[in-house]
């Protein structure tokens, strides 16, 4: 039985990271120049890591699929970034941020990792301010905070509704500086298609140049994956159109464990689906729940009249409105964590109280906030989000409540990493959303930005040296090695196979079908029967795809359909693994809700005795079921409780 070694340092929780840093191996400056590091991805994690590693003196090669590093999807994060600064003097501390994150993750994350995350959170804010990130400020000139779901303190720093953009542009500017100083070499419009192992260590990648279609090889002493999550398995998600799980998936296929694939976060406040042609779902920031109140009609006949277009929400009297989150969770009200809010919305809609033409929507109402604070204040806080909503839906949220519904947003699962953020493949690291590490079964709002930047600025630049210290005598690699040769041949075969199918349907045709299977059976509510059906359906659809997809054009130029097909081929397999993992985990926790395991009140029912582990899936080969290893989660410092947001 394979033992999973997470390499958690010894010592009391608050000392672990300090102890680690005090005793870890480092690489001296002269040797750093001789070591190459590949970083795939330029989001918050990738850009901050590439810049920081470059500054340290390593020779960094940074890849992204977009035309510019600034386009990575971290840019779309709206609400904010958490840190334990306690500027508002409301009782926050590193421990409390750690505790809230562990609890928010439904006790399925590693204590040591999460504590480290909370510990470095403050440095992130300092770093960003120094880079010129224009965070919101008070009139006194100091930084402003707001509150977010799952916390009883205000610890979220923000830059209007564009925090992710500003943080990413900060990291991008650091990266640009490193590029200018020739510390980092940038490769844009290139997609990683394979990982190359030499003697069991990660030594390079194969990419496709998306402009010329050429397959290119790059070698390095270590490879860092920062390619985000796999939420687009669902076709409709809040992810960008080009976000994909393929880089991570190639690592899995080369032997890296894929951890907790079933943990996907459904974000409660997205603009509802409106038609078959829809290409993506737009998120409305969680910060809106600070001032917006969520409700559906109390009476079914009102809900029906609204759906039929006979009644307007503003005509429903106050006493006929069901503010169900405030009713069910008085202590946290509209600010319960995302998984709880999403499920509550689904519950109301399934019970027949949903609004909108499809009945799959609930109201997010600002009339109270506008009366209390005035329109100007609300506009200053959320103006850009309101404008965005109005452009899409053609309704004015200042006058009529917004309609929202949950949608896939973030994947907590990802490549398994140890405390040093290294996978089980030596020399292969994973950071940001691409790894599984810090959010357990559910991520709290404003924590993704925190984790991405923590990994990139303050964790990986230390921990990677522990590995590289042993590599200083290893000379640079030639990309002519047989391992590279073989990897490139595999890719060409796969590509040619796809190009030669010449079937009848477009890639999106299959992707939409996959999305429906995922949403229906591996979505917000799962059960054993449905998951088994999902696995069968996905396998059947995958077979159909490989027999009937049509990819027009040539592969020697820009070919978007080919890009999409290569990604979709992996999404089928990711979707299947998600279903496997969800089936295995016979409990409900965080974003993973099995209808068989719930309390009489409909709350998630965790099973700590049997399922307090990280599921680490290992690839066994084409058409073979993967094998699962367990990394036990031991809680030394926190006592596990049933999450309670009621009192």
């Amino acid at each position: 039985m394979t033992q999973i070694n997470s390499k958690i340092p010894e010592g009391p929780l608050a000392q672990k990271w300090t102890n680690y840093k005090d005793h870890q191996k480092l690489v001296n400056p002269a040797n750093k120049r001789r070591l190459d590091i590949i970083v795939v991805g330029t989001g918050l994690a990738g850009a901050s890591a590439a810049a920081s590693l470059g500054e340290l003196g390593f020779n960094v090669l940074n890849f992204c699929i977009q035309d510019s590093p600034r386009r990575a999807h971290s840019i779309a994060a709206q609400g904010g970034i958490n840190a334990a600064k306690n500027y508002p003097n409301d009782g926050d501390s590193v421990y409390r941020l750690f505790y809230d994150t562990i609890k928010g993750g439904d006790y399925r994350a590693r204590e040591a990792n999460v504590y480290r995350l909370a510990e470095v959170s403050n440095s992130i804010i300092d770093q960003c301010v120094a880079q010129g990130v224009p965070f919101a400020r008070e009139y006194g000139g100091l930084l402003d905070n707001r509150s977010f779901g799952g916390a009883q303190v205000s610890r979220t720093f923000y830059a209007r509704g564009q925090t992710g953009q500003q943080l990413l542009l900060g990291a991008y500017s650091a990266l640009s500086r490193a590029v200018h100083k020739k510390q980092v070499k940038l490769y844009t419009r290139r997609e990683m298609l394979d990982l190359v192992l030499v003697d069991g260590r990660a030594r390079g990648i194969i990419v496709r140049n998306l402009i010329t279609g050429k397959i290119e090889r790059y070698s390095a002493h270590a490879v860092v994956i920062a390619t985000g999550g796999y939420g687009n398995t669902f076709f409709l998600s809040t992810n960008a159109m080009n976000s994909n799980g393929s880089a991570a998936w190639q690592c899995y296929k080369k032997g890296a464990y894929f951890a907790n694939p079933a943990y996907a976060q459904i974000h409660p406040t997205c603009i509802p689906v409106h038609g078959e042609f829809q290409s993506k779902l737009t998120l409305m920031s969680e910060s809106l729940r600070n001032d917006g109140r969520i409700w559906v009609p109390k009476k079914k006949e009102d809900a029906e009249a609204i759906r039929a277009g006979k009644l307007k929400p503003t005509q429903i009297k106050e006493e006929d409105r069901d503010y169900y989150l405030e009713r069910r969770y008085p202590a946290f009200g509209n600010l319960v964590p995302r998984d709880v809010a999403s499920r509550a919305a689904k519950e109301r809609c399934d019970a027949g109280y949903g609004v909108g033409s499809t009945g799959l929507a609930v109201y997010l109402d600002f009339s109270d906030a506008i009366n209390r604070l005035g329109k100007d204040v609300v506009e200053a806080r959320y103006g850009n989000l309101f404008q965005m909503y109005e452009k899409i839906v053609d309704d004015n949220p200042y006058e009529t409540p917004m309609m929202i519904y949950p949608a896939i947003h973030y994947t907590m699962g990802g490549i398994w990493v140890d405390y040093e953020l290294m996978t089980n493949i030596p020399g292969l690291f994973a950071i940001g959303e691409a790894n599984f590490s810090d959010h357990g079964a559910n991520r709290l709002g404003a924590s993704a930005l925190m984790q991405g930047l923590a990994d990139g600025y303050f964790v990986l630049p230390y921990t990677i040296q522990s590995y590289l210290a042993d590599q200083i005598r290893v000379p640079r690699f030639s990309t002519d090695l047989p391992e590279f040769e073989a990897a490139e041949k595999d890719i060409n075969d796969r590509k040619n196979k796809l190009m030669n199918i010449n079937g009848k349907h477009s890639v999106d045709h299959f992707h939409k079908k996959l999305g429906h299977i995922m949403w229906d059976f591996v979505g917000m509510a799962r059960d054993a029967e449905g998951l088994k059906k999902a696995i069968q359906d996905i396998q059947a659809l995958k077979k159909e795809f490989w027999a009937d997809v049509r990819i027009p054009g040539s592969d020697e130029t820009v070919n978007v359909e080919l890009e999409k097909a290569l990604r979709l081929a992996d999404f089928f397999e990711i979707g299947e693994l998600m279903a496997h993992d969800a089936l295995d985990r016979e409990e409900s926790c965080g974003g993973h809700f099995r209808t068989e395991y719930q309390t009489p009140e409909g709350e998630a029912l965790r099973n700590d005795d049997q399922f307090s582990y990280v599921s680490c899936w290992a690839y066994q080969g084409e058409d073979k079921d993967p094998v699962m290893y367990k990394e036990p989660l031991e809680y030394e410092f926190v006592q596990r409780q049933t999450r309670n947001y009621k009192s």
């Binding site: 770093q127 880079q131 100091l142 564009q162 991008y172 200018h180 960008a240 452009k391 899409i392």
Partner: protein, 251 residues
């Protein structure tokens, strides 16, 4: 209420940077006005694939108006006829039944066409690399609240920082000038004490790179400001001029 409309789209097709381009006109039936412009192009591409033709290439990614990847010059406007939106946020309710919609790539010497509607905007990255940053390394930073910043300055910096780098300013400019883009970054950092330290060096380096890459001279027509999806003001250009001239006269 949103209806279904029939439209024609006249789209620029070009196989590669060196090849000659041409317009092709396609007919689309029953397009919901509730769909976005890019979803309409998705539908067109689906149609083209089903007919065995090659789909139209266009840049897009986040589809919520923030990544800056989408472009397109639609009916005489960068990002189309709606105000303060990117192409991905433009909806078909802005168009009428029976209309012919002309779709072109950004046209500017600084943004060569790669294929169809996709252009190369790496020039913007090069300008940022020339100096669009505060020269700080990771770590060793004072506390975030060590330097108070007046709220109005911070807000103005944020206004400038909202730039998404889409290039609509260049596309709209009759002079192919990138001044709005450059001035937004220079302004953001010049307004903050953290960026002030190297403001002179930054302004000079970024303008030099901008000129080097062949962007034109600003004549203050203000077209950039009108078409900017993020409402970046040309008063930033005045600030850039000020910063640049101050720096040069000091030398």
């Amino acid at each position: 209420m949103d209806k279904n409309i029939n439209i024609k789209v006249k789209i620029w097709r070009q196989n590669g940077p060196k090849e000659k381009g041409r317009f092709e006109t396609y007919e689309l039936k029953n397009i919901s006005q509730g769909s976005s412009f890019l979803e309409m192009l998705d539908i067109l591409n689906e149609q083209l694939i089903n007919e065995g033709q090659t789909p139209v290439v266009f840049d897009h990614d986040c589809r919520e108006g923030i990544c800056g990847m989408c472009s397109l010059y639609i009916n005489g406007h960068p990002h189309g006829p709606d105000e303060d939106v990117t192409t991905c946020q433009l909806h078909m309710r802005r168009f009428n039944d029976g209309e012919t919609i002309t779709v072109e790539p950004w046209r500017s010497a600084g943004f060569p066409v790669i294929k169809d509607l996709m252009v190369d905007r790496t020039a913007f990255d090069k300008i940022i690399q020339a100096g669009g940053y505060v020269s700080v390394n990771t770590g060793g930073i004072p506390d975030a609240n060590a330097i108070p910043i007046p709220k109005d300055k911070a807000d103005m910096a944020m206004d400038a920082a909202a730039c998404i780098g889409c290039g609509a300013c260049v596309a709209a400019c009759k002079n192919g000038s990138a001044m709005l883009f450059v001035s937004a970054k220079v302004s953001q950092l010049a307004l903050l004490p953290q960026g002030k330290v190297e403001a002179a060096r930054r302004a000079k380096a970024m303008v030099a790179k901008m000129d080097d890459l062949g962007f034109g001279n600003c004549t203050n027509t203000g077209a950039c400001e009108v078409e900017c999806p993020k409402n970046i003001s040309i008063s930033n250009i005045a600030r850039l001029n000020r910063e640049f001239l101050k720096a040069k006269f000091k030398d």
